[in-house]
């Protein structure tokens, strides 16, 4: 079993079983492949260099739309214009955090410096946002319902398996964030 993250003399530490590391690695990789921009062969190289993407559109996939939300509630045109300026670098930020977390999975014991922990918390959060869309968690009642699912022996279909994975990543992120808050408190 995984051990909760904790803050101590070595910094933030955690422990994951090989199967848990494999699971997290594939989750991180899945979200990376969702976020990798599509084939933009027509992309103006200069625009690409400075991070502009004039071909970008609001994502049709709900999970991706949650990862890359509109910046204005009721102004699609202004949101799209903003997306053209910022979405590429936002995708890169997220991919960077997911890849960094994935690299840390090479060892049994996780020892995370402050920046690593931040990447992990962002990566776990994005994984949870995607799983939540797949599980159709729309409100707190849905979240409570999914949270009931704690027994791996009950995992008999894709949805219950996803619910267990969601609950595992929730538990892991919660323990990580508590350790990060503790490390912030004890900073001079």
């Amino acid at each position: 079993m995984a051990k909760a993250f904790k803050y101590g003399l070595k910094g933030i530490t955690g422990f994951l079983e090989p199967a848990e590391r494999e699971l997290l690695r594939s989750l991180f990789d899945d979200v990376v492949s969702m976020l990798e921009p599509g084939d933009s062969g027509s992309q103006d190289p200069l625009a690409a260099l400075i991070g502009l993407d004039m071909d970008v559109r609001e994502p049709s996939d709900r999970a991706l739309r949650r990862l890359l939300p509109n910046v204005m509630k009721d102004d699609g045109a202004a949101s799209l214009e903003f997306r053209q300026l910022t979405e590429r670098s936002l995708r890169e930020t997220k991919i960077g955090a997911l890849r960094a977390a994935s690299l840390d999975l090479d060892k049994d014991e996780l020892v995370l410096a402050a920046a690593d922990a931040r990447h992990w918390s962002m990566a776990l959060n994005d994984v949870r946002l995607v799983l939540a869309e797949r599980l159709d968690i729309q409100d707190e009642a849905d979240a409570d319902h999914v949270h009931q699912m704690q027994d791996w022996s009950q995992a008999e279909d894709v949805e219950s398996y996803l619910a267990l994975v969601y609950n595992f990543t929730t538990w892991l992120q919660e323990s990580l964030v508590q350790a990060m808050l503790q490390s912030m408190e004890s900073r001079p």
């Binding site: 936002l90 409100d139 707190e140 929730t170 912030m184």
Partner: protein, 126 residues
């Protein structure tokens, strides 16, 4: 948001870490914009508070207060500034996975995240 356990005592003062240096802009400084964070059933309450503390440098007390406002009222204004400033914050919030939007302040909103606005209950997804 999802409930977290064991929020610590609210004794810590603000620590500034993640806030990018703001650059001067040429837009009219007297047109304020708001950064709004919306509730969702996924983000952990502890994580939202952590982001407010580490990115904005808010004290634990202030971060938790804003986090609870998001949770209970469905949304909260967590920062003000020029359009460019709040847009920069919004991208950072999206990087953390928080659901953030920007909006023009509708007058009288100088209360540092005080005004809850018309948000009711759970945020609908947009």
């Amino acid at each position: 948001m999802t409930l977290s356990v064991a929020l610590g005592p609210d004794t810590r003062e603000s620590t500034q870490t993640g806030t990018a240096a703001s650059t001067d802009t040429l837009t009219a400084p007297d047109i304020p914009w708001n950064l709004v964070i919306w509730n969702d059933p996924v983000n952990l309450m502890s994580y939202v508070s952590y982001v407010f503390q580490s990115y904005f440098g808010y004290s634990e007390t202030k971060a938790n207060k804003l986090m609870m406002e998001v949770h209970k009222k469905g949304r909260s204004i967590v920062a003000h500034g020029s359009k460019e400033q709040v847009e920069q914050h919004a991208v950072a919030m999206h990087g953390y996975g928080l659901w953030a939007t920007v909006e023009k302040a509708t007058g009288g909103n100088s209360g540092g995240g005080k005004s809850g606005g018309p948000g009711k209950g759970k945020g609908k997804r947009g």
